[in-house]
């Protein structure tokens, strides 16, 4: 599978490693080249330095059509903007974004953007722990 990961912070770089170890074709984008140092499994990965709110950078990232785009920069609003720009470039691309603000989740889910919210996931996981359910 062809996967594009936007944002190479703690989550992004871990995702790069997970997908590349599975044998998927991975492209990672970050505007700050130094963020790529967190990636361990470097051989099979393509790197792109650029600001992903910039349409030209997104088009470059999506040049080989991707089956999955994960938008995981540290800023919710940036992730939202990027997701919507990708949908304008290619409606059919599957885009999943990370949002910290749980209040934004249902708004953007209703708009057809798939969202992962660490806040909700942590709370859910907490109450599945022994003695807390």
């Amino acid at each position: 599978m062809r996967v594009v990961i936007i944002g190479s912070g703690r989550l992004g770089s871990s995702l790069v490693d997970v997908f590349s170890k599975r044998g998927d074709s991975v492209l990672v984008v970050d505007q700050n080249e130094s963020k790529f140092i967190y990636i361990e499994n470097r051989e099979a990965v393509e790197f792109l330095v650029g600001n992903s709110t910039d349409e030209a950078v997104l088009r470059q990232a999506l040049k080989k059509s991707a089956e999955l785009v994960l938008v995981v920069t540290g800023n919710d609003y940036t992730n939202i903007m990027i997701a919507q720009k990708i949908k304008i470039i290619d409606k059919t691309t599957r885009v999943i974004i990370r949002l910290f603000d749980k209040n934004l989740v249902h708004v953007y889910s209703e708009l057809g953007i798939e969202v992962l919210c660490p806040t909700t996931l942590t709370i859910d996981a907490l109450f599945k722990m022994p003695g807390l359910s």
């Binding site: 609003y77 939202i80 903007m81 919507q84 304008i88 934004l104 209703e110 708009l111």
Partner: protein, 221 residues
């Protein structure tokens, strides 16, 4: 009217002043606590601390009864979310956004933001054309498709159209005069309507005719 302004930028503060003077109800939201404290000395309860892209903050600000929400922070992505949230959650009738990167205007329009203000584009225009006062065509709103714009232009002193009727100007098809603001009144013009100095004119103009509009309205050297 009730207007919520997100982002206590210079533009935001000046807009608030103008609106308050005009008798409107205003709330300014900013997430810089120091700024909010300072501003509340002048504006009192009109200023509110919080993240204007957060649904519960907007709710406390009364977004559900706001007639207009203006997103004027310096960050395009934040402004996008402010407009989208207010449209979807609070059904705000009119959203206006500042857009810093001209390339972002398309996405703001595609999500249904009613008006975008692009200071970069206005500044570029001013610098490129080295315009004199009265020669400025202010782009208000690019209409869908991009090659037609709603613009505002003032009739400069010495302009060739002063005293002339619209029908005498021989305007091409791509220029429509929409309204003329004169002496506190807005006129919906007809062919017989003539121009006066300092008229504030709103027009729909095809991009290829922008220069022609400028020729007509500009002052004599």
């Amino acid at each position: 009217m009730y207007i919520i302004i997100v982002g206590a930028s210079k533009a935001g503060i000046n807009l608030a002043k103008t609106l308050l003077t005009g008798g409107h109800e205003v709330t300014i939201i900013d997430q810089d606590e120091g700024k909010v404290r300072l501003l509340s000395e002048t504006f009192g309860d009109t200023v509110m601390f919080g993240n204007g892209a957060n649904a519960s903050v907007l709710k406390r600000a009364g977004a559900n009864r706001a007639d207009v929400v203006a997103a004027l922070t310096g960050d395009d992505a934040t402004n996008l979310v402010v407009c989208q949230l207010t449209k979807l959650m609070f059904k705000t009738p009119r959203t206006i956004s500042r857009v810093s990167d001209p390339a972002n205007e398309e996405i703001f329009q595609s999500i249904g933001v009613d008006a975008t203000i692009n200071s970069t584009r206005i500044l570029n225009y001013l610098i490129e054309e080295q315009v004199q006062a009265g020669d400025v065509i202010v782009p208000l709103f690019p209409l869908k498709g991009g090659d037609i714009e709603l613009v505002q232009v003032d009739v400069a002193k010495g302009s060739q159209i002063i005293g002339k009727k619209i029908k005498e100007l021989g305007l091409p098809e791509g220029i429509i005069i929409v309204s003329i603001y004169r002496d506190g009144k807005t006129i919906i013009p007809k062919g017989e309507t003539s121009f006066k100095q300092d008229d504030e004119v709103i027009a729909i103009v095809k991009k290829e005719h922008i220069e022609r509009v400028q020729q007509l309205f500009k002052g004599a050297k």
